[in-house]
């Protein structure tokens, strides 16, 4: 360990309250990756940071396998910010080029970094049809579409249709009388790069997006993706200031439920996957449930782990994907099936991607087969 490392680590330990750790181990007892036998023990990472052991804290396999789902943060009695710690440690390992290869050959990170350059004119709005009313630049509501257009192109083998979520969001906003801004110049919010430790690229993306949002004159930015909502609300402060308001689509709609003409009856039974970014990171668990409750005839059955206790989809930041992530996804899908629900409803396109990938397991087939939809799709279908 170099002296520079020591100073860096002690600074990180102070910022994330790692110093406060009294070694109770609740974090490791809670961690889904630890439970399933993966290469992570939050307690060990915290203590290694405090001891300035860069070999574990920066170069070890542990920080790459953390899902940053925030389950441990909730239980820590002394409020150590473990997800913040992992993010800071990843920044160090990114600077030193010490990170393992990202899943999908780093293709998604490459795409995001190319967007960050700002020298390309994207062709990202081909999915807009004449039935969807949007404005390319100005309006009171800015619909943050995220990277769904890229995901559908990149994951054809999973039959990905995350753009259907985006379309549903436009339809819902239109039903409320809004013509949202859908910009051809939006770039990735930078969530994944930030959580992969590439702060410089994140900031380049954030600056471009913040300018775009400010020029639109929007009073509120509405994101159907939990990761985008989290990032814009919690990480865009230095670029965006305190306005406009940032909301996940479910929050925005929940405030306007009485104006939404949800008329079409259904007899379907659904269960709900709380995205970690929406539930634990933003504290939003009631809004999507109130939306589902407003769909006539729809029945919501909760999984054994729900709300702030929900297990995450185990793939959020494209930073690591291994057999432990797969195992967690399979467990979660089995939990969803055990409710007897026909549809697993999520509020983040990424959850769908990772669960659909797990469903490709040829040995499990029907055990984990369940239809998946976003809460926006469920609602738009009831219009």
């Amino acid at each position: 360990m170099t002296r520079a490392h020591g100073e860096r680590l002690s600074d990180i330990a102070a910022r994330t309250r790692a110093w406060a750790c009294y070694d109770c181990g609740k974090c490791s007892a809670t961690c889904p990756v630890t439970r399933i036998g993966g290469a992570l023990s939050p307690r060990r990472t915290v203590l290694s940071t405090n001891l300035l052991h860069a070999d574990v804290a920066v170069y070890g396999a542990e920080i790459a396998s953390c899902l940053t789902c925030g389950a441990c943060d909730r239980r820590c009695p002394v409020q150590v910010d473990f997800t913040g710690l992992v993010r800071a440690l990843r920044e160090v390992s990114h600077e030193e080029d010490a990170q393992p290869e990202c899943p999908h050959g780093g293709a998604l990170q490459s795409l995001m970094r190319m967007m960050a350059r700002g020298t390309l004119q994207q062709q990202r709005l081909d999915w807009l049809g004449p039935d969807l009313h949007t404005d390319p630049a100005h309006g009171a509501v800015f619909l943050w579409t995220g990277c769904t257009v890229y995901y559908d192109a990149f994951f054809p083998e999973y039959g990905m249709r995350t753009l259907d979520v985006t379309r549903a969001a436009v339809r819902l906003l239109n039903a409320l009388g809004q013509v949202p801004v859908v910009s051809p110049d939006e770039v990735c919010c930078g969530h994944d790069l930030l959580w992969n430790g590439d702060r410089a690229s994140f900031e380049a993306l954030a600056r471009r997006n913040a300018a775009l949002i400010q020029e639109s004159g929007a009073e509120v930015v509405v994101a159907p993706c939990a990761e985008c909502a989290r990032t814009l609300r919690l990480d865009y402060g230095p670029f965006l200031g305190s306005s406009p308001r940032i909301q996940h689509l479910s929050e925005y709609l929940a405030e306007r439920l009485s104006d939404l003409p949800l008329v079409r009856e259904t007899t379907r039974r659904v269960t709900f996957q709380d995205p970690c970014r929406l539930g634990r990171h933003l504290g939003v668990v009631d809004a999507p449930r109130s939306l589902l409750a407003a769909v006539p005839g729809l029945e919501l059955v909760e999984m054994a782990h729900a709300g702030l206790n929900a297990t995450c989809c185990a793939g959020g930041t494209w930073s690591a994907c291994d057999r432990y992530a797969k195992k967690l996804q399979v467990e979660r899908l089995k939990e969803a099936k055990a409710t007897g629900a026909e549809i697993l409803v999520t509020a983040c396109p990424k959850c769908q991607i990772h669960f659909r990938c797990a469903q490709k397991d040829p040995n499990l087939g029907q055990d984990i087969a369940i239809e998946m939809q976003d809460v926006a799709q469920v609602l738009a279908d009831a219009l």
Partner: protein, 142 residues
């Protein structure tokens, strides 16, 4: 945008070990002249060339990327080049959304015997990319 005076494109060529790389060799031993502005990356089979490889080349400033392998039916791992087609289409789908010109990315089958064809593909592709000028990503990356 027009290319600066004396500018030569930077091209990355991915080639499979058994056909297209050998095709380049054939061009060499037959002393067939062709444009020299490319770096070749040899892989065992074109099926190995995943979107991440190509995207990284563009990210690092390549003006064009050529993906090459054995003709369909001739892959030494039977169906590797069919996988290469899938990977290529996926790559093309995202580079298109990203806003990179289609002509910067090309897929060609070149056998070990086709030295002349290798030279012709390289010349044509180089001219095409030259006409497009520097990649929008290379302008800043350089």
């Amino acid at each position: 945008m027009s290319a600066p005076e004396g500018w030569n494109p930077r091209i990355v060529v991915f080639a499979c070990n058994w056909c297209s790389y050998a095709g380049a060799d054939t061009a060499g031993v037959s002393r067939i002249q062709h444009q020299p502005h490319f770096r070749m990356i040899r892989v065992m089979c074109s099926g190995r060339i995943q979107p991440g490889f190509v995207l990284r080349a563009f990210e690092k400033g390549a003006d064009g990327v050529l993906v090459s392998g054995c003709h369909i039916g001739d892959c030494h791992y039977l169906f590797g080049n069919e996988r290469a087609v899938e990977q290529f289409e996926k790559t093309r789908a995202v580079t298109r959304i990203l806003g990179l010109e289609d002509e910067r990315l090309r897929l060609e089958w070149i056998s070990a015997a086709e030295g002349a064809r290798f030279a012709q593909v390289i010349d044509q592709f180089t001219e095409r990319v030259r006409a497009l000028g520097p990649s929008p990503l290379a302008r800043e990356a350089r």
